[in-house]
Structures are given as C-alpha cells and as structure tokens.
C-alpha cells in the first residue's frame, strides 16, 4: 500500500460510503470525493496509458488541468470519454474505465511503442509515412489513430437531454476561491446583480485545501460563511459545477453547467448539462493560479504529482498520496506541502530544492537537499525511488510518491481568448493577462497576487471599483484577518539538468525535452510551430500544465527571454464541452421550427403526403388507394385539373399588405414593370430585379383600393422580399409615404383551377363572378354565402380557368372543406406541389428553378415587360450592361425528347449534336423537367444560348449523373394553350 485514506480530516462525509467501479472492479469512496481522490484512497495510482508511448500514468493534479487521469464514464449510448477523474464528482454506481490500453491497463500491448521510442520522436509520422501518398488516409492514419489517441467516442444516439439558457448580470465572478468570494461579497452587498460561477461541485476554491485560519475560523469555515451570506442575497446567483469556458463579443460568456453528471439516474425533466450564455456588464476573473510542474528525468511515473495536489488530497479529501513522499521544489510551496503532509503523519523522505541558501524550513527531522537536481525516478508502474544529483554525486532515495512544485502560473485563459497576448512578468517569472479593458478584470492569484491577503484585498478592491463604475456605492469594509499566509516565492527552473530518463513536458501528448530540442533544430522553434511539430499543448488539456514549460525551454534553449518566445494562442473552450450541450434542445423535431399552413388539417384529411419546403410542410401529392407511386397520384391530379377542377393550398406564398398614398409609386420602383396605373380591382404579375439586373422574385400584386395593395411573393423568398422592401422604404426612399406588413399568416389561400372552377367557386360566393363581371386578372373583396368576407383573385399558374380565394386563416379549413363538398359533383380533387409544378411547366411558367440568380427578364422571355418609360426602378441601371444584353445569352426554351419515351432530368447540360462534352461546348442547361400527362411525354424548360432563335433544332441533353444522352427538340416553352384560350372563358 502506498496511497491511502487518512484516518481523519477532509471535507468528505466519512459516514457516506459510495460504491463505484473502475475497470470493472468495485471500489468504495466517500461522498465529497472526486473519482481521483477515491481512486487514490484505494491506492489506484495507475489510471491510464500515455498517448504515444503507452507509458503507465497516474494522477498528477487535483483539478481541470489533469493530463493523465482521463477515463471513460458511463455505459452504452450515455458514455463520456476523456473525463478527467480529478473533476468527476463521485456518485454511487459511477462506472469508469481507463483508456488507451489493450488488453488491460496493467498489461498494455501498445507499451511496445515505448521500446520503439528512439524512432518515435516528434514529427516521426509525418517523416515516415510519406509514401505512397494514397496510403496515408487508407492505411497509416487508421492504424496510428487506433494505436494513439484518447478515449473512443460513442456513435450511438445520445439519449440524454441538454438545454441552453441565457443569464444576465452586472458582474460575473469566475472562480469561488478567496478572490472570487470576496469580490462577490463586496459586489453583492453593494446591490449588483452578481453571478458567481465555479467549475467545482464544492465552492471555496483553494480555501478548501488551506490550513490557515481567517477571521479566527478555518479557511473552510470562512468560505462556508461567505457562501451562506451570498446565498442570502437575492441579487446573487451561485452556480456550482459550472465551467465558464469562453469569452465572446459583447462580454457574453459561455458556460456549461453539469446539472446531472453526478447522479446515476438523471431525472427526465432536467437536462444533464445546460449551456449558459451569460451577458455580463463586467466580469472578474478569479480563476487562481496553476502550480507549474518540474521537468526532470522520469517525471511521468505514477506517483509523481503536483505538490499542491498532494496538499489538496490530504486537506480536502483526507487522502495521502503516499506513505513516504519526496518533495522536489524550487520554491516555498513544496515546503507547505511537506508540512501539511507531515502534520497528517505522512513520512517525508526528503525535500530536494533546486535553490541554494533557502530561507524555507523543512518539517522537523526531514532531510533537506539544497542545490539538488532530480535526474531519474525508479519503479515501473509506480515510483519506488528518486535519483538525486548534486555536484556530480548521485544518490537514490527511496519513496513511494514525489511531489513537485515549480512555481505558479496565473490561470488567464479567458482573458486571452479574444486576441490579446499574455504578457511576461520578469518579477513573477510567468505570463500575466493583458489589459483587455474594463469588461474583464483579472484579480487575485490569476493576476499574480498569490497571497491570501493579496487575493482577498484584490477581489474586494476590484469589485468595489466595478461597483462604483456601474453607479453602485460599495462601502469600504474591513478586510478579513489571515493568520498565517502562504509564501508563493520561487526561482524558475525550466529543466532539472542531467536527466537520465525522458523528462516530460506534456504528459498527455508524450512530449519530452528532446522533442522540443528537435523542433528547434529543424526550424520549428516558433512557439506555435513547436506546438504543431511536437503536439505539445494539444488535446483535452490544451497545455494547461505544459505550455509554460515549453515556452521556458524554448527560451532557455535559445538563450533568450520567455517574453520573446510568448505563448501559443488561447481559444475557447477552456475545458472540453460536449456536442450535446452545444446543440441543447435543437435536435430532432426541435432542430428547426415547422411551419404549418392553416389548411394543414384539410390536407391531412384528404390524404396528403407532405414534403419539407423551407420550414413549411406542404402537400406533395394526395395519394388515393391503389396508387403506388407519387407519379400515379400526380398524373391523376394534373389530368383532373385540366379536365375538371382541383384545389391547391397556396397559403405558404408570401403575402404583404401595402398601404399609403405613395404605395403605387413604391411598387413602381420595386418592380421592373409598371404598377403606377394598376386599376383598383385588378391583379398584375410583377417581376422584381436585384440591383445587378438579375431577377430576384416574382408574384402577383393586386390593388384593393387606391392606397391599399396586396402583394404575393414566392414561398421561398417571402422573408427576403419583406427585408428588401424594408430596406428600400427606410434607406433608399424614406420620402415615400408607404407602410407595409406581412399578412402571410392571416390568410388561408387556395387555388381553384380547372375548366369547372367557376361552377365551384360561384356556388360559394354571393357576388357575380362570371367572366364579364370578374374577368381574368380581376381582384377584389367578395362575400361568401353565410357572410364571411374573402378576397378573390382571378389568376392562374396552371393555365386553366382559375381563382385564388383567401379567407381568414382560422376559417380556412372549413372553407376548403366546403369547396371540396361543393366540387364533388364536378369531380374536384386536391392537388399538391408536384402537380402544381407539372401544370406550370406545361404552361411554361417559371419558378425559382428558372430564376436562379443568373437570369435576366429577357432570358426568361419577359424582356418586353421591363418598362422603358419608368424613370427608375431597382435593377434598371445595370440591366443595360453589355453582358446582360448580349445576343448569345442563354434564353429560356422548351425541350421535348425526339423519342417520346426518353426522359429528361433537371440539371442536365445541352450540347450540339456530335460535340464533345466540355465547358467550352456547353450550350445551356435544363432548369425544370417532368413527365407531362397532358402530352404523354417528358417536357423540360431549359436555358439555351440564343435559344429563341433555335426552335426546331435538335440538341443533345447530356446527363452524366444519369448516364443518359437524350436528343431533344428545342421548342416554345409554352406547351399547353399558347394562345391563352383557356384563361379567358
């Protein structure tokens, strides 16, 4: 036995045993443990295998910077890989497995990599697996990925619930140690809305592991009293288990709250994790400081741990990291650890100090070796001794754990996430946060003020300044009295000279000193290059422990200051965030909203098969019994509309009500064709251009009164047209007196089309809708029998006699039902998008399949519609550009296969007969194609160079995707009723 549970002490509940599993073996911990402290209490030092060499690795830290103790927690689809055992809160039933080992942690086949390590230096893979090139993706990379790497991701669907939430505050305090608590107290008492967030499940930060007394009570009692007061303040929100991972624009912080990661059976009504976006007027970073590892030979064996982590395990968790502990230190912190462990009855094998003439005092009876260098460690799967070198004299000292302390690094990650670079402090021998303005202020140890007195005072002062800045008054308060303060002094030591074994910098990525040296020699000495070349500081810990030593060594190797080397770039996230939390509830049916037409129920009743159309669900076709394919239903619907009558839901079209004395003038400028003199009671087809002269959108607009127009847009661009109009009204022509609003959702709108349409509509409408009274393109308000007011438009997309009837949305289903009932005698059918599309292609009508942003009005055959008289309209100027008026532009034509049983598909390209398929020979493309039930063969709309001059020509429809070349005849795009005889009846 080496590591063990102390008989007393710690903030664990010794009455609450928790059984958990590690690699299948049941172990027992205590409530208040982390998985790491519970493993140590069970003397499980070996917790993982390293990334590259598969070296045995143990717990190094007691927090979020842990590089080694990465485990997989959970079963089946609820598996979380790469969880740090040092922050995983223990619960009964927790099931953890070690990673990166096969067949077992103790006997790992991959450890053979360690024997090969002379060949596996930095850059090895890139240099070795260079050819053949195709092998990289197919052979080398999969093998390397299997051998190296961290935990395995689970590909099953994640059954857990996640959510996102917003929060707002005057002051966000990140970290609940002495600095954060004091800041939250000062700001909270002054009345600020404060959020205090901490990643730990128990708040208090470093106070939880301190042995000194504050205001006459233990540091833990002081923290608890402070928290109790904060909880009593209604303006303070305390968020435990919440990692603030990112700092974004407008002082918004990203945080993830582990709501139910510490329970075996999550409640269904709560998420397991909640992603917070915290909009903070000010933020105070009280994230403390990280103890710096020492780089010495054999420093990666299980049992080598941060001295501060040993203190935390002893004082907070009541766990001793070993029975005989050697301390290797370059500053006072190592002595503190020695004193605390000695006080708990742990033997201190020796203190090795890299400095000479030190003032620090070792515990009574403990051997102190000054000016010592650790050059190796003994033991295989755990430390059994330490080799110390002093002036050429080597000595082995037996021990079962080694605590290392290399000084302090402020945790400044968040402050550096938005581009500002960390600043080297020669006095503190570390990097400090840059000045990033008053939105984010760094305080306490995170600002290099490491003493408890310094932390408490800095937190209080900076919170008071923020309060004053925001207009609150914070009364000056007496500072808590600290009995015995910590001494943070140290002398930087980047490398313990004379290493006889690999001296690791980055434990997680297996980067050791020689790798950094190799990077430097091979020209990758820039800190960012060295990171990529060696992988130092990559993966889940992002260099929290290793970054500073890599910089220090790169500087030391070149004989320059770390200030000239700098740090790598800090980016979100501070610690890994699950994809589930980032997605929140936006998955499955909540991934995007569904828009439903007011006629959705009517369509369902009539057997609609729906299709996504943007956010809308629209009926694609209405299947009847016996119909096996969509084509059968569609063909029937098309024939029925041509022969009898059909009803189609067109409620999804964008609808805009336009009011005002200048509404006509506004429309005249928005559309390329004339609208100024549109009579009241008339509808007109309108074509909207972009400024560059290309068609933007089309639709019909009707004049309901002199100052009230009703515009329809395509479904796809309803929102875009509205924005475009807002821009025009607010920015381009603010002098025009016009107002408009969307009425898309107010109206249920249905097209009733077919030779019998009038019979059906007249049966419902009081007003006379005969051709004489209500001719083609008439528009107006009518009364339905029974009194309901409706809008009626005589417009046709199908080419048949057709009406569009709009009624208030709530009544839509009832009216559609009535039309179907009335139409039954006339053979009415419901028809969907597919039939709508076939009908309009047969008539040569365009949609956004044609108006794809590259098409001018003339290309589509609307050249004569573009008004030459109007002084201006959107798109007028650029319409006259040479390229837009060139004679060889592609023009819309119809195509029909020369052999009637051949098929044409949209997207196919057009070639002259005999021409080789190439971009140079491209003559155009097919924009829409379908089978025409009316004609009995395929038809297509296509854009062909100078197409309108080429009716009758044979052209090859080249379809590489379908592997078919079809010869087609170029023709007029209006296949059905080119003389419009059916419209004017």
């Amino acid at each position: 036995m080496t590591a063990y549970r102390l008989t007393s002490g710690g903030l664990v509940d010794r009455g609450a045993n928790l059984d958990f599993k590690f690699d299948g073996k049941t172990l027992t911990g205590l409530s208040g443990d982390t998985l790491a402290s519970a493993l140590l209490a069970n003397d499980r030092l070996l917790v993982g295998r390293s990334f590259k060499y598969h070296r045995p690795r143990g717990i190094v830290t007691a927090g979020a910077s842990e590089p080694n103790a990465l485990v997989t927690i959970g079963k089946g689809a609820s598996t979380d890989p790469n969880t740090k055992a040092t922050v995983a809160e223990l619960y009964a039933g927790l099931d953890a497995r070690s990673q990166n080992r096969w067949p077992s942690l103790k006997y790992d086949f991959g450890a053979v990599n360690g024997l090969l390590s002379p060949f596996l230096g930095a850059g090895f893979y890139y240099k070795t697996f260079m050819w053949p090139a195709a092998f990289w993706e197919k052979v080398y990379e999969p093998i390397i990925r299997r051998a190296a790497g961290l935990g395995r991701v689970v590909l099953e669907r994640d059954p857990e619930a996640y959510e996102k939430c917003w929060a707002h505050c005057d002051l966000l305090v990140v970290g609940s140690g002495p600095t954060g608590l004091m800041a939250a107290l000062v700001a909270g008492r002054a009345g600020l809305r404060v959020i205090l967030a901490d990643e730990d499940f128990r708040l208090g930060g470093s106070l939880l592991a301190e042995t000194t007394r504050i205001d006459g009570v233990s540091a833990q009692a002081f923290a608890e009293a402070s928290l109790a007061e904060l909880r009593s303040l209604p303006n303070v929100t305390i968020m435990p288990r919440t990692t603030v991972f990112g700092w974004y624009d407008d002082n918004v912080f990203g945080a993830v709250e582990r709501v139910q990661k510490h329970v075996a059976m999550p409640q269904a009504k709560l998420p397991v994790e909640r992603l917070w976006r915290i909009a903070a007027k000010r933020a105070l970073l009280a994230t403390g400081a990280e103890e710096r590892p020492l780089v010495f030979g054999g420093n990666d064996k299980p049992g080598v741990m941060m001295a501060g982590a040993m203190r935390t395990y002893a004082n907070r968790f009541g766990v001793a990291a070993g029975r005989s502990v050697a301390i290797f230190s370059n500053g006072s912190a190592g002595y503190q650890a020695a004193h605390d462990l000695a006080a708990q009855g742990v033997e201190i094998a020796a203190i090795i100090d890299s400095r000479s003439d030190v003032a620090d005092v070792a515990p009574a009876g403990v051997r102190l070796i000054q000016s010592g260098s650790v050059i190796d460690t003994q033991g295989r799967q755990r430390v059994s001794g330490i080799v110390v070198e002093r002036s050429g004299f080597e000595e082995t000292i037996a021990c079962d754990a080694i605590g290392m302390s290399g000084g302090w690094n402020p945790v400044i990650h968040l402050a550096c996430q938005r581009g500002a670079k960390a600043v080297w402090s020669p006095e503190l021998q570390t990097f400090l946060a840059p000045d990033v303005g008053n939105g984010l202020v760094v305080a306490g140890s995170a600002a290099g003020r490491y003493t408890l007195v310094g932390c408490l005072a800095d937190g209080a002062q900076k919170a008071a300044a923020i309060a004053a800045d925001l207009g609150f008054s914070a009364p000056a308060e007496a500072m808590p009295v600290v009995e015995e303060d910590i001494d943070p002094s140290f002398t930087a030591l980047w490398y313990s000279p004379g290493a006889k074994a690999k001296a690791f910098i980055d434990f997680q990525n297996d980067v050791h000193v020689r790798d950094i040296g190799l990077a430097l020699r091979e020209g990758f000495g820039h800190v960012e290059h060295a990171k990529r070349y060696t992988t130092n500081g990559m993966a889940t810990d992002q260099g929290k422990l290793s970054g500073i030593n890599a910089t220090g060594l790169l500087a030391a190797m070149q004989g320059i200051s770390p200030a000239d080397v700098g740090t790598t770039t800090f980016r979100p996230f501070y610690t890994p965030v699950t994809l589930g939390a980032l997605a929140g509830t936006s998955r499955d049916e909540h991934a995007a909203p569904v828009r439903k037409s007011p006629l959705h129920g009517w369509a369902q009743k009539n057997g609609a098969v729906f299709v996504d159309s943007g956010l809308w669900y629209r009926p694609a076709y209405f299947a009847r019994s016996g119909e096996k394919t969509w084509r059968e239903s569609t063909d029937r619907e098309v024939r029925n509309v041509r022969e009898n009558v059909g009803l189609c839901d067109v409620s999804t079209l964008g609808k805009i009500e336009i009011f005002g004395p200048d509404a006509a003038e506004f429309l005249n400028r928005i559309y390329c064709n004339a609208f100024l003199k549109l009579p009241v009671g008339k509808a007109r087809y309108g074509l909207m251009l972009r400024e560059d002269g290309m068609v933007y959108d089309d639709g019909t607009t009707s004049r309901l009164s002199s100052e009230h127009f009703f515009m329809t847009t395509t479904t796809a661009l309803a929102g875009g047209v509205m924005s475009h109009m807002e821009y025009c009204a607010q920015v381009l022509w603010p002098d025009l007196r016009v107002r408009f609003c969307s009425s898309t959702d107010q109206w249920a709108q249905m097209a009733i089309a077919g030779p019998k349409a009038r019979l059906v509509v007249q049966a419902l409408v009081e007003d006379d809708i005969s051709d004489a009274a209500f001719p083609f393109l008439a528009a107006g308000i009518v009364a339905l029998k029974g009194g309901l007011k409706a809008r009626l438009f005589r417009i046709s997309f199908s080419g048949e006699l057709a009406y569009e009837l709009a009624v208030p949305a709530g009544s839509g289903e009832a009216v559609a039902d009535a039309i179907m009932e009335e139409g039954r005698a006339h053979g009415i059918c419901a028809y969907g998008l597919e039939a709508l599309n076939v009908l309009r292609m047969e008539k040569g009508h365009v949609t956004h399949a044609e108006f794809d942003g590259r098409v001018t009005p003339d290309d589509a055959g609307f050249g004569r519609m573009v008004s030459a008289q109007k002084p201006d309209f959107i798109g007028k100027r650029l319409s006259t550009r040479y390229g837009l008026t060139a004679a060889d532009r592609m023009q819309m034509v119809g195509l029909k296969p020369v052999e009637a049983d051949q098929h044409i598909r949209a997207g196919a390209h057009l070639l002259r007969e005999g021409a080789k398929p190439s971009t140079l020979n491209d003559q155009g493309y097919v924009s829409s194609a379908c089978f025409s039930p009316t004609l009995g063969h395929d038809i297509a709309l296509a854009f062909l160079k100078s197409g309108r001059e080429r009716y009758g020509e044979r052209i090859v429809v080249w379809d590489k995707l379908a592997g078919a070349d079809v010869v087609a005849e170029v023709c007029n795009p209006v296949f059905v009723d080119p003389g419009n005889a059916k419209l004017n009846v």
Partner: protein, 186 residues
Amino acid sequence: MTMPYISRHPLENRLPLEPGIRAVDHMDVPRGTAIATVMAMDGEDAAVAAGLAVAGDMSLRFVAPGEWLAVSQSDTPEGLCRNLSLLLAETASVFDQSDGRVVLRLSGPNVRRILAKGIGIDLHPAVFEIGTSSNVLCGHISINLARTGENEFELIVMRSFAESLFDDLRLMGREFDLSADFSAQG
C-alpha cells in the same frame, strides 16, 4: 350553399378543449383575441401613439418604430379594426391580424427562468418592465414578448409557427411542470 364556417385554433391538436389542472407555472391560450397591426404614416408616430394611449379596451405591443400590435380580449376583430380606423383616421393604416397571430400567456414564479431558455434579452423586472413589449427571438422563432405582470408574460406568434413554439415552450417548461390549456373565458 350556405355554411357557418367554423374557425379553428391552430393549437386544437395540442390542447384539450376543456381546461385541465393548472400547475403554478401555467400557459394560458386565449381562443379569440382581436389583434391588429397599426402602422403610423410618416411623421405621425407621436400622434398615433398619443391616440392609442387613450384608446380603451386594448393593449399595445411595440413592434417597430411607428408600428404596434393592438390586442383586445373583449372586442371582435372587425370591431377593433373599425374603432382603430375611426380613432386614427388618416394618420395610420390598420390591418386585421386576428387570424394570423396566436397569443400565449405565461404566468408563474418560474416563468422568467423558462423564458430565459429561449429568449436572449434581460427579463429582470428592472430592465424589462411591466408594460414593456418587444419583438424577440424565442429559440428559432420570432415572437412579440410583453410583460403584463411581475411574473406574467404574453407571447404573440405567427399562426404557422404556433405549434412549434408551443412544443418548444413545453420543453422549456418541463423542469417546472408547466401546464397549458385554453382560456376558460374563451
């Protein structure tokens, strides 16, 4: 052929016709609310606002500069539009949106926490005061949000999005057992 065209509420598939048991946090869905868009003509913003302020029997929701939704629980859509048109005459355009918008009323001690799951603006009563309203996003959906009491909010959403918003709100309120039904008073 004469038919009394029955009007359907878009949440009829989601809610029982009869009121159920209310939790402390509740979503109340009024069936018949008269809603109209009021758009002031250029230069008439202040006059229209003043006119609307004295109009009884309706609440106003801010949509955009010079644009409001007028909401009435007691008036009919036709009545509301008629009254507004008479009141505002040439200074504003009025358009009936009663069928195009759906009203959802949330009340209860946790409503702010529920809404914070979808709405990014600060709903603290000192910031978003009683009587305030604004167009905001709730998750993916644009709504008009009004604070009608310390713990009472009214959401107005476009009809086509009503079911999706309702489903989202149920999910957001799951933690607090949010209940929902149609208003008893119709």
